[in-house]
Symmetry: C2
Subunit: 192 residues, 2 copies
Amino acid sequence: MARPRKFDETHALTAAMETFWRRGYEATSTRNLSDSTGLGQSSLYNTFGDKRELYLRALRHYYETHTAEQTALLDRPGPAKDRLRDLMVHAVDTDLADPEASGCFTINASVEKADSDDEVREEVRRHFTTVERALAETIARGQRSGEISSERSAGTLARQILSTYYGLRVLARIQKDRDALLGIVESTVSAL
Amino acid sequence: MARPRKFDETHALTAAMETFWRRGYEATSTRNLSDSTGLGQSSLYNTFGDKRELYLRALRHYYETHTAEQTALLDRPGPAKDRLRDLMVHAVDTDLADPEASGCFTINASVEKADSDDEVREEVRRHFTTVERALAETIARGQRSGEISSERSAGTLARQILSTYYGLRVLARIQKDRDALLGIVESTVSAL
DNA sequence: CGTATTTTGGAGCGAGCGCACGGAAACTCG
DNA sequence: CGAGTTTCCGTGCGCTCGCTCCAAAATACG
């Protein structure tokens, strides 16, 4: 009934997400987005709305892919501590392997835009809450099996791990010594 | 021998620091800096060089004031765990009391600009290293007094606390529940 | 095949960006 | 008090920003 699109929306969204992730919101121009997605300006605006809306879409796309990948690591079978260690070691290796050192998009968004944009803040909160809940479930499972002490509540421990985990991802931006980062992971896991 | 300045350089630098801290590098325009410092554009450029140099000056000024304040909290007398708790509780209360929710300038800089600017990265590294070293000294003191187990090295524990501490400051941008944040602090301190 | 509908690419809009410049102003010192 | 020096303020340059618009292109349908 009309001229068909010659691009795949998900591919374009993924490209835009990577650009925002790597460069941040303010440092990314609509020309940058046009280049990385391969779409013309008019196609970008026609498909995704303005720059801010595309950023929100990108953040939600990150949730569905990368945040989901993180919780998937926790949901796998096996000892709870192994699952927690996997999550953190995976983050360390991902961050160190990235030549652009983009870190975690959620954290980046939380630092750059969550203060000034309510919708970004709510989206970031959703990411944080999802990871925290997955951590709490994993820890509760470890407590039921006796692997983890029940002295502190699963909720408190989950928030503690979440905090260490996010701190780790901030540190990994500067500290490239893998052994030092893995030392943090081991120390954290073994303290449970 | 010439016309004297009618502004105080440190005051201007403090104002510029607060603006960069609150808004980030990219979102801050030279007009914003002119407004917040009260200096005209030419005075700004004459005194501090260009925008990037002023940002670096602002980051160094943060080191001399706020990073120094953090390590000062650790250097005070008293039980090591109390010092560590003070540091983190102070950060929580500072972050929650700030209506702008600016967080920690060092972390903000590390997320927004450390990847793309070598000098920013080195400056951020200096902040991280200073806090880590102060943490290690405090922990070593606690280990000598028997207050903290010597099972893990002071260096490893310092990095673990650093990680949790920075994660806490990221979480505090979204999570405004003081009790939840203090729960993380207590759980972290008591696990030592 | 003609018409309606949507997408595409590119030119370009007003605004704001970082930064530079030049003359007036405010001091010190001979 | 005049000469020399530095700071101050306003203007504006060249550029890029986010975004819009329009005609050409590509399909579906009668």
